[in-house]
């Protein structure tokens, strides 16, 4: 049959972020799916090297506005490890509280977007209205609705008062009730179940092979959660279940996220109840001693990894971010193999993609050449040799000498 290639994006009604997908179709069937990212690449990793540690906390927060607390906590944890700072317990509890509230806002947001993608706009309006409850709480605790700015190196910047914790508890009750209602919709409403079941199937083996993380992996019964496997902040002291599901499809991912919401409410209650007294931050040195650290964090979308290398100055030498969507985006191509074009929006939405997290790329432009080109490894190798030769360093002679010596 005749093949058609359809470009979707970077501006497209179904996409909320600029990215480009090339979809090869035969009739309605998807033969090939390829994603082209990079429209959102701002160069944050490089910018981190040019700013001080404190400035970087705010910058990493703005890697992504939805899981902003995830990125800043992940970065701060790495720096604290390098500097061997003992973060006060109360600070860890507040961090975890904001983290769980963030998960609530992110999962509610996702549910709305998923509803929108399958044409169930009422659900979008409902969930976003309820999401405002948690936004209000976050604004009350941190002073901002989205990029909270509560983290600092060595602790948090704002304490939580007893009145505030009462408010949080009240809001949690409201949200729990609403979430129960959504769970009811998701498990009883036939149209929704029919639309989501069997769509975007990712088998258990494929999930592991492609390195899926977060709810995407857990819905394929991969029992993996950093909060339990490698506890950070206050998670070691909390009781919670890791939600998994064996539906392997978009429906399973919905159930996992709904289940996680309920777990989050229970965690929020535990945090409020057991909040220890004490200071909320320790003083951090301006210059962080030389060293390197890798920090892991279970963001709402999956495992987030930050690597920080310090050289003893007040600016990091290298910061590397591996956001969850980068791990998950590979699975979309698999999920869409031989599927209908109409499933595309919901399957992409089901991994809860965040492309502003993911666009950490390297762009190489040749001066004078208008067209972009992809460099192969060999080209890159030759280019680097040429680059050194231009600067008067020639390894060709050395190489010859080395071979002769080895003989």
């Amino acid at each position: 049959m005749h093949k058609v290639i359809i470009p979707v994006g970077p501006q497209h009604p179904a996409l909320k972020e600029p990215e480009n997908f090339m979809i090869t179709l035969s009739g309605e069937k998807i033969l090939k799916f390829s994603a082209r990212l990079g429209y959102n690449h701002r160069g944050i990793e490089k910018a981190c090297e040019e700013r001080t540690y404190i400035q970087d906390v705010y910058l990493t927060e703005r890697i992504c506005g939805i899981c902003s607390h995830s990125h800043s906590t992940c970065f701060v944890q790495a720096v604290e490890e390098i500097a061997a700072l003992e973060v006060p317990k109360r600070a860890l509890y507040i961090r975890t509280l904001v983290a769980e509230l963030e998960r609530v806002h992110s999962h509610l947001l996702w549910l709305g977007v998923a509803g929108h993608e399958v044409g169930f706009d009422t659900l979008l309006m409902y969930t976003w209205r309820d999401r405002e409850v948690v936004m209000d709480i976050l604004a009350m605790l941190t002073g901002n609705r989205v990029n909270y700015g509560i983290n600092t190196i060595g602790g948090v910047r704002r304490d939580i008062t007893p009145e505030q914790s009462k408010e949080v508890a009240k809001a949690t009750n409201t949200l729990e009730e609403r979430t129960k209602y959504y769970i009811q919709i998701a498990t009883k409403e036939t149209t929704l179940i029919k639309r989501l079941s069997g769509v975007g199937v990712l088998s258990h083996d494929d999930a592991i092979r492609l390195g899926a993380v977060g709810p995407t992996a857990r819905a394929s019964s991969v029992d993996r959660d950093v909060r339990r496997d490698d506890p950070y902040a206050a998670y070691g002291e909390l009781k919670f279940k890791v939600i998994t599901d064996n539906h392997n499809d978009v429906y399973g991912r919905t159930l996992v996220r709904m289940g996680e919401l309920m777990e989050s409410y229970s965690m929020i209650r535990q945090l409020l109840k057991n909040m220890p007294e004490g200071p909320i931050a320790v003083k951090a040195p301006r210059k962080i001693p030389a060293g390197e650290a890798v920090s892991r964090y279970e963001a709402p979308r999956g495992e987030d990894v930050h690597y920080v290398k310090s050289n003893g100055s007040e600016k990091p030498e290298r910061v590397k971010v591996r956001a969850p969507t980068l791990a998950n985006i590979q699975t979309v191509a698999k999920m869409l193999e031989d599927r209908q074009l109409a499933d595309l929006p919901i399957v992409i939405a089901a991994i809860d993609p965040c492309f502003s997290c993911t666009d950490r790329l390297t762009v190489i432009k040749e001066a004078g050449v208008r067209k972009n080109k992809v460099m192969s490894w060999e080209d890159l190798h030759d280019y680097s040799i040429g680059w050194y030769r231009e600067r008067g360093i020639d390894f060709a002679g050395l190489n010859k000498k080395l071979t002769r010596m080895l003989k």
Partner: protein, 144 residues
């Protein structure tokens, strides 16, 4: 001004259709734009409707500092919009580059790429600020 022109203007002001385009934002301003359209803030009560294509839009809501890769797309989208068209820069980074100012892959703000009619600062701009900005833009057009 003729009667027809008056009617057209009235219609335009009472139902401005907007297109949202992310030009390298961190997503925070984008979710705040969506939040402004959902029940709590409900931008639709001013007749504002979100549209999917630039050809239907009167107002372009942009968020983000304009990355190098998106710049020509942004200009293309702007060219595709019918006259009269207005651009609103939402968020500090789309006004001036904000935290990303000086990054190697970004311009410093939307106005480096296309003309802007209104700036809404804030990192992120709250839904209230977005509504205020859009309404101010509309009322400034009324007097023209």
């Amino acid at each position: 001004m003729g009667l027809i022109q008056k009617t057209v203007n009235w219609a335009r002001l009472k139902s401005p259709w907007v297109l949202h385009f992310n030009t390298g934002a961190c997503n925070a301003c984008d979710i705040e734009i969506i939040a402004a359209l959902t029940p709590r803030y409900d931008l639709e009560r001013f007749g504002v409707v979100l549209k999917g294509t630039p050809r239907h839009a009167d107002v372009l809501l942009c968020s983000g500092p304009v990355t190098k890769q998106i710049k020509c797309r942004l200009q293309r989208i702007y060219d595709q919009m019918p006259e009269p068209k207005f651009v609103v820069a939402v968020g500090t980074c789309s006004c001036s580059g904000g935290v990303f100012d000086g990054c190697y892959n970004v311009e410093s703000g939307i106005d480096q790429a296309i003309p802007v009619s209104a700036y809404i600062p804030g990192c992120p701009a709250s839904p209230k600020a977005i509504i205020d900005g859009v309404v101010k833009l509309l009322s400034s057009l009324e007097t023209k």
